[in-house]
Amino acid sequence: MPEPSSKGALGVIASLGHAVNEIAQRLGFVARFFAAILLYSGQSFRRIHLTIREMYFSGFQSLLIMLVSSLFIGMVLGLQGFETLQRFGSAEALGIMVALSLTRELGPVVAALLFASRAGSSITAEIGLMKATEQLMAMDMMAVNPIARVVAPKFWGGVLSMPLLASLFSAVGVFGGYLVGVVVIGVDEGAFWSQMQSSVDFRLDIWNGIIKSFVFGIAVSLIAVFEGYDSIPTAEGVSASIRRTVVNSALTILALDFVLTSFMFRGL
């Protein structure tokens, strides 16, 4: 933090300008890196098994944490939703409330947050360690492009897993809400499902949720591969990169969610 008393107002402005400049430079670097990934994606898609393998690593291995978290979140939604709705005598609208909360917001957002900490961090760690142990440099000297061979498959593996995981998250969450709302509390089962069916719109709710999770998948995967590739090749450097992946992903997901929600559901 700058100290206004010792540097005066000019000092504050200067360090602010310095920080902004640094962030802008870093963003420019990320953009160029993204362009390089896209450029070499053709090469890596010709070896599609690489991307499928990464989907398995980042996607399949996040499954358990997704299933457990979504079940609990769905059950909490069932409880809280029932408490609130019954005050207005509309407990049978519980199905709509649970389904909309999940497909529009909680599914994509929480799944992406979990994905960043489970899969994003390990993507950063893997790439960072490969860099620190000169594996990336060795690959490049063998005339194998590390962006095409390592980075792009990890990126696309994450991007493609994310919508699948988020959809699964929403589905299991709805089931959790059903368990608490219908099976435990005793909301009418027919009303729970039929209200949900009639009010959840495919394009507005489900499709927008999928688009959100796709955007989050791009953001998280890009941050994870970038931080790994850009890490300082030491133990501390890699650990700092992992931390940045988790923190920056979380902030980016939440900020993007606000922007996307404004456009999708308020028509801004």
């Binding site: 142990t133 440099m137 060795a138 000297m141 063998m142 194998v144 492009n145």
Partner: protein, 271 residues
């Protein structure tokens, strides 16, 4: 010109990181088919020079010709085509830790050829046999000792029978026996493959018995050159100090610092 047939010609080569000059006017000719050592104290720019030859860094100035072609001016695709005919052994091996010894050696073959798995298997086992590790093909890199990992990396570096092999300090951290084994191997591979070899090392004893020619570097410059016998007889104080491992001479053990006495005086004054 010193040799008539050179694989690598370097002239007036300058390189700097940011504004710190690392290489200053380096000139070297590497004769084809020979084993050449690049020696010098740590930090004098040896690894940097290898990375310049491999095209991973670009010089600020100067000429760097490999087989008659200018490496710094090559477009990416041509550079990659060239690197397929180069093998580089990194200081710590740089084996891919997520795949087995066999797959590590097979890696460049699978990436760059369309041979059948059967032929790849034959080639890989042959290369592993050359470094004496055919029996270790199923191990993972984490299960290897330092010397074994270096030998596997060597097998990987020569998988595609390169015309140029570069070794970055292959002897560091090895026991005398492994050192002898690897040194012998480097010589034998150079002669058997008809390749040209660059050996970066500061192990004087090992290198002198092994190589055909030596370049001596200090502070980013070539300060001496010659056959092992010529270097041994050199009267240059720096070369003499290095070859005979003397503590007293033009090379300093201490990083530049203000005189110790001054610092002590200041500490006392502060107190």
């Amino acid at each position: 010109m010193l040799f008539d047939d050179c694989l690598i010609r370097i002239d007036q080569l300058d390189f700097s990181y940011d504004d710190r000059a690392i290489l200053k006017g380096v000139a070297m000719d590497i004769p084809r088919g020979k084993l050449v050592a690049i020696m010098g104290n740590s930090g004098c720019g040896k690894t940097t020079l290898l990375r310049l030859i491999g095209g991973q860094l670009r010089p600020a100035r100067g000429a760097l010709l490999l087989d008659g072609q200018s490496v710094p001016d090559m477009p990416h695709a041509q550079l990659y085509a060239l690197r397929r005919r180069m093998g580089m052994l990194f200081q710590f091996g740089a084996l891919f830790t997520d795949i087995s010894v066999f797959d590590n050696v097979a890696y460049p073959i699978r990436e760059h050829t369309r041979l059948s798995e059967e032929m790849i298997r034959d080639m890989v086992l042959m290369k592993l046999n050359a470094v004496g590790l055919r029996g270790a093909h199923a191990l993972m890199p984490t299960e290897l000792s330092g010397g074994m990992a270096r030998r596997v990396a060597l097998a990987r570096a020569i998988a595609l029978d390169p015309m140029l092999i570069m070794y970055d300090e292959p002897f560091t951290g090895l026991d005398p026996i492994s050192m002898g084994v690897i040194g012998h191997l480097i010589r034998r591979l150079n002669d058997a493959l008809g390749a040209t070899t660059l050996l970066v090392t500061h192990d004087v004893q090992e290198a002198f018995g092994l190589v055909d020619y030596i370049y001596f570097m200090s502070g980013g410059e070539v300060v001496a050159r010659g056959t092992p016998d010529e270097i041994r007889a050199s009267t240059d104080p720096l070369v003499h100090q290095f070859v005979y491992g003397e503590t007293d001479g033009p090379l300093h053990f201490h990083f530049p610092a203000p005189p110790f006495a001054d610092e002590l005086t200041r500490e006392i004054a502060d107190a």
